[in-house]
Symmetry: C2
Subunit: 180 residues, 2 copies
């Protein structure tokens, strides 16, 4: 995986793909599937919605670290599988044939099979809305991957793969931050 400039890392989440969030609770790795994410700023800061209903939340709250991994459409069945079982009784890396890779700044693992990974620190938890606020501290993209289409949940069991890319960089020039 090749390191990506932190100023570009928000572009990995801006389009709203389904992501995998890994945690390490001191003993074990875990993964959850999350669709409810949002960019908060370009530094980058991110928000995710999660809470007690996710087994990973305890590790996130205690260790205040995670990795946001971006899967592509070829991984969809594993993404759905990860989202429909619990880390309480399942080693999801083993069950879904995924390879944890050590990060540089957090103990939560990157996922080798994903298109991109972002190491994150928890900077705040807005309890009344179940919002966890994350600061991205390192980002990586796999430049060798052929399949690069991410996937977007509809919320009813259907998913939408990325289609055509439309270039509006000229029209958007005034709004694009430097360095991205």
């Amino acid at each position: 995986m090749r390191q990506l400039k932190l100023s570009q890392a928000f572009t990995l989440l801006e389009s709203g793909p389904v992501v995998l969030v890994t945690t390490h609770d001191g003993r074990k790795n875990n993964i959850m599937t999350i669709s409810w994410t949002m960019v908060l700023d370009f530094t980058p800061m991110f928000a995710i919605t999660t809470g007690e209903w996710n087994h990973s939340f305890a590790a996130l709250r205690r260790n205040r670290e995670c990795v946001i991994a971006i899967p592509t459409v070829d991984l969809l069945d594993r993404v759905v599988g990860i989202g429909t079982c619990s880390g309480a009784d399942t080693d999801k890396f083993a069950k879904f044939g995924l390879t944890p890779v050590a990060g540089r700044l957090v103990k939560a693992p990157l996922i080798k099979q994903c298109l991109a990974n972002i190491e994150c620190k928890v900077v705040d938890i807005v309890k009344r809305h179940n919002i966890v606020v994350l600061q991205g501290v390192a980002a990586y993209v796999d430049p060798t991957r052929k399949e690069r289409r991410t996937v977007h949940a509809v919320g009813d069991g259907r998913f939408i793969a990325d289609g055509r890319t439309l270039d509006r960089r000229k029209m958007m020039a005034s709004k694009i931050p430097d360095g991205s």
Copy 2:
């Protein structure tokens, strides 16, 4: 526009499309383009990231109402245009040939040309993260529209249109809320 059950309204935002957010400040309508949105729950509650840098924020904070309108790919140039000028000196409905339609529960207008519209009340503003928390109170979809592909910002001036839909409703059955 046909009314959509509120329990299904979260599916309009779950995939992370670029949206238009309308406000009414007591005198004038305005529209902003927003890519930073997130579902918070199925009731539905939504989060959007915005602040003083958007002219619409003053109306949102004061009147505590808005409409989230979901445009499709055929409207992309208008969506980008709306995002790169300011309501401070522009009547965006007039400039971009969009038609405001009165909602039922809020004074902010629906946008006739959009695929879907969600009337929302502001329930909280988390100032330290520039997060506005919205409760969806009514939702509508245009069933007659041929073009139904939404569009996702990459953040660098490029946009991704919806591609293929993949059906995982059977695998996801345990996770799909009733009524959707």
